[in-house]
């Protein structure tokens, strides 16, 4: 599903440049649930941004669902993001003046799905994350966990190939974190490929595979026994 070869990325900081990714080789099959771990500055967010086509690598290859991702124009990148990727952010990034339903429907709008179908689809995803009754509420009327669940429904709505979650539980307390992880596990159980960036050990162990990043290189890549979040909920 995802394949990257010898990925390099450096940022220019004034006169000296900062080499963030120093040759990453990584492969993820369809249906995997991968945790990307590392301390801050290890390059995990940069990796996720490149995978999410929000940033461009300096060199190396990136193939997503057998499509080579390179030399993308803004428009093309937008189309690929819309078609291939669903984003889940630490700070939820819901649009604050749109209701939960409208937020979930937004990626479908950019897929040019008709209004009615959009509403129905968005509603079914909201139902999936258990927030059907909250459809007309604004994000400000929802709790943190509910917001993140709306964000997950939004990421799912476009039916992407890969879900990219950047510290999805970073802004949540542990109980709510487990609820969100439970949801992510269930989505993964249905066969969706999910990449989770986290620095929390317990969250990482709820995935099926942990990739450790340190100073821009992968230092450890292991399959693990998944801890189900269900038991903590």
């Amino acid at each position: 599903m995802i394949e990257i070869k010898d990925l390099h990325k450096s940022y220019r900081m004034g006169s000296n440049s900062l080499h963030v990714l120093k040759g990453i080789n990584f492969k993820a099959e369809s249906g995997e649930l991968v945790a990307i771990m590392g301390s801050s500055g290890s390059g995990k967010s940069t990796l996720l941004n490149i995978l999410g086509m929000l940033d461009v690598a300096d060199s190396g290859e990136y193939t997503l669902d057998n499509v080579p991702i390179k030399d993308l124009s803004e428009t093309k990148a937008a189309q690929y993001r819309n078609k291939f990727l669903g984003f889940i952010f630490q700070s939820f990034n819901l649009i604050n003046y749109k209701s939960a339903l409208e937020n979930v429907a937004l990626p479908l709008y950019y897929q040019k799905v008709g209004r009615k179908e959009r509403q129905e689809k968005a509603m079914s995803y909201l139902e999936k994350v258990g927030l059907k009754e909250w459809a007309t509420h604004l994000p400000s009327e929802l709790s943190g966990g509910q917001k993140q669940r709306v964000a997950i429904a939004r990421a799912m709505a476009a039916e992407p190939k890969v879900l990219l979650a950047d510290e999805p539980t970073g802004a949540l307390d542990s109980t709510t974190s487990y609820e969100v992880m439970d949801l992510i596990q269930k989505i993964n159980d249905e066969g969706n490929t999910i990449l989770v960036v986290t620095h929390e050990e317990d969250i990482a162990h709820m995935c099926k595979r942990i990739v450790h990043l340190k100073d821009g290189v992968i230092v450890e890549d292991k399959k693990i026994e998944q801890v189900r979040a269900q038991q903590y909920v």
């Binding site: 999410g52 929000l54 937008a78 819309n82 952010f89 700070s91 649009i95 709008y109 950019y110 970073g170």
Partner: protein, 409 residues
Amino acid sequence: MFDRDIWQEIFHTLKNNKLRTFLTGFSVGWAIFILVMLLASVNGMQNGFTSQFNDDATNSIFIRPGTTAQAYGGFEAGRRIQLKNDDYQYIKESFPKDVEYISTRYFSNTTARYKSETGNYSVQAVHPEHQIIEKTLITKGRFFNNADVVNRAKVAVIGRKVAEDLFKDEDPLGQFVEFNGLPFRVVGVFTDDGDDNAERGIYAPITTYQRIFGDTNDVHQILLTYNPTYDLTKALEFSGKLEDLMKRRHKVAPEDQAGINVWNYAEAFDDISSFSAVLSAISIGVGFLILIAGIVGIGNIMVFTIKERTKEIGVRKALGAQPKQIINLVLLESTFITALSGFIGLGFAWIILSLIGPTINTPAFTNPNVSLSTVITATIILIVAGVLAGLIPAVKAANVKPIVALSDK
């Protein structure tokens, strides 16, 4: 463009920032208001000028002889030029297609007496067509006709004031009034919108007066109207030709305006229309400068809006919004504010003009109004202005890097 979601977002932004929307909208509305009022004022001035001139047929040409200022063709300067019946005949026969109506004028004064009332009045001895050229309004009876001219009939058309002076309450029609002792029958009474003074005048057939003054062939002026279908260029060309011919006939130097003066009303209108064209150009210029201030205001606000919504735009881009969709959103918003506030300004100006415009009726300023074309032009300007105002902010928005927008956690 007619996407419900886009409009929902626009309304939302405007609703959440009422004061900001109002302040920017006001600057554009105000600018359009001033622009329209300026144009209407120019229009009013134009109307005023036109109404000043509409007493006479606007397609008339006057030929007035004078005293030559230059020696020419063997004659010394200072020669008096005298027009004759021949000149009238010559013009009439030479330009059957160009001339609509033509008349001569012979000026005289007379002491008129009816019963015990007497008065001194100016007499214009003319051809019947003079009535049409000068737009003389007959209130009673008729103007004299060609038969009167041929028969050298002693008939007269008197002004309203003359009738009041001489006849008091009597009906002057058919009565005989003595001009310098000669009895003339009154066949009509005229009024003149132009001024009261003209109503102290008397019209009589040219031939009658020429006989009274010793069977002369002299006339003092020739006036005519040209084919009304002529435009300004054609009219000026015709009067130019007329001038050349008359000067040649009377051996006046071609550039000598004092010898024979051919005056075309069209020239005056040419002057007035170029004058008001300059005025409208100035007012359009001033209006535009004010409008630019408004546009910059809207652009300014849009830049702030974009700054405020950077994160949202980043999220949208992450979700798959294409740059052109973001541009669309911003452009539509700015166009919407501009157009809406502009229309409000336009509406206000229009209401004020239609309320007070028709009541203004002074010689120099009559019924200021705006034409449909002005309104349409203003609308187009507004939409273009809105697009221009949104352009820079929109490009700025489209260039928002989602990674930068989303990084501030």
